[in-house]
C-alpha cells in the first residue's frame, strides 16, 4: 500500500512552498528533506534537546513535535531566515561568532532561533535571565558560558544605537 500524500502549504522565511507529504512527516523532516533547509538540526526527535527549534509566528517551538500537515496556518522562521536581507549575519549570529558561542555547531540553530525570540520578549536580559532563556536547549560542547555571553552581546548589538 502506498501511503496517501497531503498537499501542504508551508510558509518558511517569507517564501510559500507547496509540498506533498505523508501525514506522519514531522515538520523538522519536511523542512530538511522536502524543502532542503538543512539548517534546522534534529537531535533527539522527542522535544528534549532543542536543536530543531524554529519560530512559529515568531514563537519558538520544536519542529520535531509538530506535523507538517498541521503547519499550514503559520509563518515559520528557520535559522536560514535569521540572516539580514543582504546575507550578512543577524545580530544573534554575529554575537555567536564574536563570543565563540559554538564549537561543533550542531545545537546552534536551535539556540539562535530561541534567543532571537527571547530577545524580542526581553531585549536587555541579565546573565541570569540569559541562562533561563537558553535552559531548554542542550549543548554538548561549549559548557554554555560563551552562549550566555553571546546572548548578552546580541542584546547589545540589537539595542538602538544612541
Amino acid at each position: 500500500m502506498t501511503e496517501p500524500l497531503h498537499d501542504v502549504r508551508l510558509s518558511v522565511n517569507g517564501v510559500v512552498h507547496q509540498v506533498a507529504v505523508p501525514a506522519r512527516r514531522l515538520l523538522s523532516d519536511a523542512l530538511r528533506h522536502d524543502l532542503r533547509l538543512t539548517g534546522t538540526h534534529v537531535g533527539c526527535e522527542h522535544g528534549v534537546c532543542g536543536s530543531c527549534t524554529v519560530l512559529v509566528d515568531g514563537r519558538p517551538m520544536r519542529s520535531c513535535l509538530m506535523l507538517a500537515v498541521s503547519a499550514s496556518d503559520y509563518e515559520i522562521t528557520t535559522v536560514e531566515g535569521l540572516a539580514d536581507e543582504d546575507g550578512s549575519l543577524g545580530p544573534v549570529q554575529q554575537a555567536f561568532k564574536e563570543c565563540h558561542g559554538l564549537q561543533c555547531g550542531f545545537c546552534t540553530p536551535g539556540f539562535l532561533t530561541t534567543i532571537t525570540a527571547g530577545l524580542e520578549e526581553n531585549p536587555s536580559p541579565t546573565a541570569e535571565e540569559a541562562r533561563e532563556m537558553i535552559a531548554g536547549n542542550l549543548c554538548r560542547c561549549t559548557g554554555y558560558q560563551n552562549i550566555v555571553a553571546s546572548v548578552l552581546r546580541a542584546a547589545e548589538l540589537k539595542a538602538p544605537q544612541p
Binding site: E3, R24, E45, R59, C64, L65, L67, S70, D73, A135
Partner: protein, 293 residues
C-alpha cells in the same frame, strides 16, 4: 524514530471532530502534540487516525470570572500562564505552569491536553485535583462534566471515553481566606519533577482551618492529602510541620523508579510539604490581612 503511518483529519468545527471520532474507534485527538508526538515517534503509540483539533478556533480561550478560570482546549500553557486575570483569580495555576517543561514546549502544549494526558508527573492534573476543579467533555451524543476526583484513573489514564473531547478545564477561584503555593525538585530546569507539591491553606480569625496538599511524581496518579489534623492549634510550628510530613508520607507511600529511590522521595515529600505549607499559610495571612486593613 518516525511515527507509523496514520490517517489525518483536521476538522474546522467541534461537531465535525466529534463525528469523526465516533466513526473511528482507532482515532486519537491531537492537541499541542507535545506528549503525543514523542509517543508516536518512539512508536509507543500507533493510532490509525489523528484528529487534529488545532483548527477549531472556538476552543482557544482563557476566561476568568469570580467563580474561577475556564481554559479552552486550545489554550496553550504559555497563554494561560501569561493571562493576568487568571493569575489573580487562581494564582496556583500560574505558579504551577511556570514549572511545566520549558517555555518552548509551553508555547505549543495545551493545558487541557495536560489534564487529559493524566501523567502522574505532570503539574496541572495535581492543581486541578487540589482545587476540586473539573473538565467539560463533549461527544457526538452530548456533554458531561467530570470532577477532578473522578478523572485520573491510573498512570496516563483518564476517565474520558474514546469518542470524547475535553473542551474546557475549570479551575475554581481562590477563596478570600485561602493561600496557595507550589514547589518542586527536578534534576534540571524544565525537567519533569522528582517530586512536586501544591498547597492550599485556609485561615479564619488568624488560625489555620484547613491544610491540603497535592503531590506529583510520587504516586502513579495525582494525589491529594488532607493535612489539617497536623495543625490542631491552628498555628504553624516546627512540630506541626513534622507531623504534616509524617501524615503525607504515610498517605502517599512513595515509589522507587530510575529517577529517585522511595527513601529519597520521602525526604522530598517532607521538605517540600514543609516549604509549601509555610508559603501558602503566609499567602493566606497576607490576603486576609489585606482584606481587614
Amino acid at each position: 524514530m518516525k511515527p507509523a503511518p496514520f490517517e489525518f483529519v483536521r476538522p474546522a468545527s467541534l461537531a465535525e471532530a466529534l463525528e469523526v471520532l465516533a466513526a473511528n474507534p482507532d482515532a486519537k485527538v491531537l492537541a499541542g502534540g507535545q506528549s503525543l508526538i514523542p509517543l508516536l515517534s518512539m512508536r509507543l503509540a500507533a493510532p490509525g487516525m489523528l484528529v487534529d483539533i488545532n483548527g477549531i478556533g472556538e476552543l482557544s480561550y482563557v476566561r476568568s470570572d469570580r467563580e474561577g478560570v475556564r481554559v479552552g482546549a486550545l489554550a496553550r500553557h504559555a497563554e494561560v500562564e501569561g493571562d493576568a486575570r487568571a493569575r489573580e483569580v487562581q494564582p496556583l495555576l500560574g505558579l504551577a505552569l511556570r514549572q511545566v517543561a520549558h517555555p518552548t514546549i509551553r508555547n505549543r502544549g495545551t493545558t487541557v491536553g495536560s489534564v487529559v494526558h493524566a501523567d502522574g508527573s505532570a503539574e496541572i492534573p495535581v492543581v486541578l485535583a487540589l482545587l476540586n476543579g473539573r473538565v467539560a467533555v463533549a461527544s457526538s451524543s452530548g456533554r458531561r462534566d467530570i470532577a477532578a476526583a473522578d478523572l485520573f484513573l491510573g498512570p496516563m489514564e483518564s476517565s474520558l471515553k474514546h469518542d470524547e473531547i475535553a473542551v474546557e478545564a475549570f479551575f475554581p477561584a481562590i477563596e478570600h481566606d485561602a493561600g496557595v503555593a507550589f514547589d518542586e525538585v527536578a534534576r534540571r530546569n524544565g525537567d519533569y519533577a522528582l517530586c512536586g507539591v501544591a498547597a492550599h491553606v485556609r485561615v479564619s480569625g488568624g488560625r489555620i482551618v484547613s491544610v491540603r496538599t497535592g503531590y506529583l511524581s510520587v504516586c502513579d496518579v495525582p494525589t491529594v492529602v488532607d493535612l489539617t489534623a497536623a495543625f490542631p492549634d491552628g498555628v504553624v510550628t516546627p512540630a506541626a510541620l513534622d507531623d504534616a510530613g509524617d501524615l503525607a508520607v504515610a498517605a502517599l507511600d512513595p515509589v522507587s523508579d530510575i529517577h529517585a529511590s522511595a527513601v529519597y522521595r520521602c525526604r522530598l515529600v517532607r521538605t517540600l510539604t514543609r516549604r509549601v505549607v509555610v508559603a501558602a499559610h503566609e499567602h493566606a495571612m497576607s490576603r486576609v490581612g489585606a482584606e481587614v486593613s
